[in-house]
Amino acid sequence: MLIKRKTGGPGRTFHPAMAIGDTPKVIDRRAFLRNSGLVAGGLAAAGSIQLGSVRKAQAAGSSAIGPAVTIKKNICTHCSVGCTVTAEVVNGVWVGQEPSFSSPINRGTHCAKGAAIRELVSSDRRLKYPMKMVDGQWTRISWDQAIDEIGDKITGLRDKFGPDSVYWLGSAKFTNEAAYIFRKFGAFWGTNSVDHQARICHSTTVAGVANTWGYGAQTNSYNDIRNAKTMIILGGNPAEAHPVSLQHLLSGKEINRANMIVIDPRFTRTAAHATEYVRIRSGTDIPVVWGILWHIFENGWEDKEFIAQRVYAMDDVRKEVAKWNPEEVERVSGVPGEQLRRVAETFAKEKPATLIWCMGATQHTVGTANVRALCILCLATGNVGKPGTGANIFRGHTNVQGATDMGLDVTSLPLYYGLVEGAWKHWARVWDVEYDWLQSRFDEVPAKAGRKARSRKESMESPGITSTRWFDGVNLPEEQVDQRTGIKAMMVFGHGGNTVTRLPEAVKGLTKLDLLVVADPHPTTFAALDARRDNTYLLPICTSLEMDGSRTASNRSIQWGEQIVKPAFESKNDYEVVYRLAAKLGLADQMFKNIKVVDGVPEAEDILREINRGGWSTGYCGQSPERLKAHMRNQAKFDLVTLRAPKDDPEVGGDYYGLPWPCWGKPELKHPGTHILYNTNLHIKEGGGTFRARFGTERNGVTLLAEDSFAKGSELTDGYPEFTMAVFKKLGWDKDLTADETASITKTGGANIDAVSWATDLSGGIQRVCLDRGVTPYGNGKARANAWNLPDPVPVHREPIYTPRPDLVAKYPTRPDERQLRMPNIGFSVQKAAVDRGIAKDFPIILTSGRLVEYEGGGEETRSNPWLAELQQDMFVEINTGDATDRGIKDGQFVWVSGPENNAKAKVKALVTDRVGKGVAFMPFHFSGWYQGNDMRKFYPHGTDPVVLGESSNNTTTYGFDPVTGMQETKCTLCQIRAV
C-alpha cells in the first residue's frame, strides 16, 4: 500500500520543522546549487554514467514531462493475471510507464516482467525484417517475397502430401482476435493440427475440469481469493509465476488470518509465505489428495448436502480413496499421515476454502487425473460455486485462456464446440461459408498399418497432432502417424522452440522438415539450433502491445488493449500476416467476408464482433468491443473483491470487471458476466449459475441432473437439461421468442428445428428467454466424481515413467501403450525398459522444472530484455546441499546434468540450496541458446541474440504423455549431476 498519490503540486515543499528538528543538514536543491555555484559540463561530467537513452531524450525533446504525453492502456503480455500496463507515449515513442492504480486486478503493481515491459517494445534485439536462410546464412528479404515464397511452398506441400502435412502452431500471446482468425485459418486450410502453448501448460486442466463440471477454466478469480479462509496451493509457485496474484493471496491471509497451505516437492518462494508446507515426492499428487480425502471421509468432514445435491458418483471415489490409508500415502509420497490429517481438517472445516494449482499438477503423464482428483477434493468439501472457494487455476500466458477459448486446440473449433458435425455446421453458418466446401478442404487418408481409411468428413472430425509431438510427427515412420504423411512443414507463430520436452528429438525433427517458418518478435530457439540450411523463414511480428485487441485473463475477464505504439521496425501484427497469407492462398475473401479490413489489416473490433456472433456456448456473445472499451475507461469503478461496478453507473453499471465469461446473450442484454462460476446464490442475470448438464440426463439409471439445487430466482426448482427448442416447446417457453428470433432459429434448424440449442441459436433468443426465467442455458447438472469417458474415470495413482521408486511400478504402473491423437503413446514400454535397465540407479536424482520470476516461457523475449536478463545471468540447477556435498559440488560452479534419454547432457551452474530436498534437482525452463555444452550464439541472425543464453532444461527431459491431452511430463524425470 502506498499513501495516495498527490495530485500535482510540488513534491518537495519545505517543512520548517524538518529544518530545525532532527536533521541538521537540510539544504534544499536551490540552496545547494547556490552554495556550490555548480556549472554543468566540463570535467564534472567525466566518469558519470548517462542515464536515459538517447531515444527517450529525443522523443521527449527539451522537457521530459510535457503536454505532448498521451496515455495508452494495454495488458501485460506475460502471465495470465492480466495486469493493465499504462504507457506514456510522446511523439509515437513509448517513453515511460506509470502504475495502473485504477485496475482492480493489479492496482498499480507489476512483477519484474511487467515493470520492465517497455523494453520489450523498444528492444533492438528484436527481429527487424523478414529473413530467409540461404545455404546456412541469414539473408534479408521483403515481406512480399516472404509471403510469396511461403505461400508457394505450403501450397506445393499441400498438393503433394495433403493439408495435414503443414502444422500450425499458434500462440497464447495472440489476442483473442488473432487466436480466432488463426484457428479459422486452420479450418479453411483444412487441418485440425492447430495448437498453442495451452497444450504444455493447462491442457490437462481444461480437460479435467471441463469433464467434471462443465467449463475448463478458473472458477473464481484472483481477487476473490481475498475471501478464502483456507487456500491450498498444490504444484504452483505463484510468487514467481504470478507475482501480482500474491497481492490478493497475502491480503486474504492477513484479513481473514487465512490458512495458506503449500504442497510442493520444492520449498518455493510461495512456500516461504505459507502457514503449512507439505513436501511431497514429485508425481505423487493423487496419493496425497486421496490421502487428504481419506481423513475427510474417515471423519465425516465431507459436505454431505452438497454431494447429494450437486455431485454424481462420489461413492466411486470413496472406494478408491479407501485404499490410501496414511501408511500407504506415506510410503508412496513421503508425507506423514498426521500432517495430511491437519491439512484435511483445515480444508474441510475452515471454509470457504480454495484450491490453487499450476503446472506442478498438470504437466504429468497423469495430468488430467491429477486435475480430476483436485476437483473432487473441492466437490467433497462443498468448496465450489461460492465466494472464497473454487478451483483457482492460475493459467500461464497473458491470453492462454483466451487462445484456448478461441480453439487453438487440436480437439476443438472456437469456444469448445468440439469437432463434431454440428460444431462445423455452426461455425459454417457464423462464417457464412458452405459446410461442404469446408469439408472439401480436408484430407482423405488411405488405410495403413491396419487402420481403416478416413474420409474427408472423418478427417474433419478427427483431432490433430499435439504440439508436444510435432517432431514425432516428423521423425516416426509414416505408417505410425495417423494421417496421409508425417509433418513436412512447421508454421510457428509466437511459440518457443525449447518449451517442449525431448529437445534432442526436436532437433532431429527440425533437420528433416521441408519448411520452417517462425513468425515472432524474436528468432526463438527454433531458428538458433543450427539444424537447418535452407527453406527457413523468419517473419518479424510485433508484440501485442503494438496492436489492438482483447485478452482473456485467467479469471475469464476480458480486457481490451489499445495499440501503444506502431509496430517497430518492419514488424507486422498477426492480423495482417494471417490476412496476407490467406490472400496469397486465395482464402481471404471467404475468411474475411464479414470482417472490415483497413489498408490490408483486419480490424480487431470487427473480428471480436464475429466471435460474439458465434460464441454462445461459452458466453462470449455479450462482450462487444464497445462494452470492453467502456470497462477500460471505467476501471476505477470496479470493486476490489467483488469485481463489480455500482449498479447506477451509466456505462458499466452492475457489470463484473471484464465481463468474465459466460456473459450471456447479445451485448444489448447487458449481462454482467460471471465472476464466480456455478454460484447458485445469485440469479443468473447477476452472474449466478449451476453445474453444466453436459453429459446427459442420466447414466445407468442414476440422474445426472442436480437435485433440489438451482440458481436463485430460477423458475425451475430442480435439475434440468440444457435448453433446446425441444425443451422450450415442452415448457411452452417458445412463445416468449420474438418473431425475428423464431425466424433465425427456423433458418438454423432447417428440417430439425428441435435440435437448435442455446449454443447454436444465432439469434440469442433461447439465452434471452433462459435469463428472463432465471435458468442457466446449459442446464443444471451434477458435477461428475466419475468421468466415465476418461481413461481413468476415477483417478488412480500411476508412477512416473522414470520413477525413482521402481519398487512401486508393479503396483502402480503407467497406462498401457495405446494410440492417442494420431500418435502412438508407448509410455508403458518406456517405463518397463527403464525399470528393467535399472535407470534409477544410474540417474538417482529426481529432476523437476519450473519458472523464474524474471523470465517467461521459452524466454527469448525476456532474456533479450537487459533489465530482466541482468537479474538471472546463468542457467542453473538447484541441487540439495547434501547431494552437492556427496558430489563435491560447490555453489556457483559448472556441473553436467545428464538424462536417461539420447545421452542428453546439459552444462549449467550449480545452485546449492535446501529449496529442493535430498535426491531432487530443479531447473528453470526459460533458457536456450546453449546446446549440450555448446554456445549457439553465432547461429542467431546478427543482432537478435538474447542477452543471456543457457542450456534448455528440455535437453534432459524425457518421454511421457498424458493420455487425454498429450501433455508432456516436465515435472518428474531422473538425472545425474556431476561436477565439470
Binding site: G42, L43, R279, G334, R805, G917, K918
Partner: protein, 343 residues
Amino acid sequence: MRRTLTTFRTLVAATILTATVGASSTSFAQQTRDGLNPTGQNPTAESVNEEFLFKQDPKITGRISIPDGKAAHLIQPAGRDYRDFRERWLPWLSALAVLGAVALLGLFYFFRGRILMERGPDTGRKILRFNGFERFAHWMTSSCFIILALSGLNYIFGKRLLMPLIGADAFGVVAQYAKFSHIYLAWPFMIGVALMLVLWLKDNIPNKIDIAWIRAFGGFVGDKHPSAGRFNAGQKMVFWMVIGFGSAMSVTGLMMIFPFALTDITGMQLMQVIHALIGIAFIAGILAHIYIGTLGMEGAYDAMGSGKVDLGWAKVHHDLWVEEEQAKNASGPQLGRHQVPAE
C-alpha cells in the same frame, strides 16, 4: 566343506542385498524427516528477524541472483565504526601526526639548529654517493609521494580547509584531479619503492655498527660522530620505513583500486583504516627525512642533488663507507695510512 562355503556366500550376498534395500528405504524415510526438510513446519511463524540475525553475525547476508557479491549484504552497521574512525578520529590523528612532526622538527631546529658541516682537510673534495639511476629512483618515488600525500590529505582535510576557501565547484574539480593523480601516481610510486628495495637493500641490512650508532644518538647529541657504513642506522630506519609503509600502502591501495576483488566490505573498511593510519605515519616520517636531508643538515642534500657529497662530510658521517669506496676505487679520493696527516 565346499557346500558350506557356497551357503556362506549366499548368506553374505543376501545380507548385503537386504542391507541395500533397507538402506534405500530408510534413506527415503529420512528424506522427508531430516533437518533439511521443512515438512510440517510453519514457515511464517519461524520467519527470520533482524535482531536474531544480528546476534549471529554483525552483518545480515542473504542470497541474490546478480553476480555482484557485495549486494548480498542486506545490512552492515559496521559502516558506523568506519564512519566514526574516518570522521571523528582520523582528522585529529592526522592533524596531530603531521603538525606534531612539524612541531618536533621545529623544536629540534630551534634547539639544535642546522647541523653544519665540520670543516676539515677534505672539505671541498667530492665523492659520488648516489649514481644517476639511484637518484632517478629516489626522485620519482619522492615526487610521487608528495603528490600522493597531498592528494591523500585532501581526502581528509579538503572539505574542511580547501572547500570553504575556493567553493564547491572549484573544489570539485581539484578533488577530481587529486583523485586521478592519487590513483595514477600510485603506480610509479610502487615501482619506485620496488626499485629502491633492489638498489639499496644490501646496504641497509642492520648490523652491530648500527647499535653503536644508536647508542651515540647518531651524533645528534654531543660532538662525537659514531661510525657508519653507506647508510647509518637512522637512514636504515628511513629505508625500512619506506619499504614497510610503502608496501603496506601499496597493498591496501591496490585493494582499493580494485575494490572487492579480494575482500568483502569489512575487509575494505579495514584496508581504508590501515591505509589512512599508515599514510599519516608515513607522512610524518618522511617529513623528518625531508628535514634532515635539506634544512637539518648542511651538505646532506647534495647526495640526492648532484649525487656527489663533500668528502669531508662523508668522512664524518659515513666513515666506513668512504673507506670501502676508496679501497674499491683507487683512482678516486684515497683514504689510507697517509690519510692521517703527518704530525
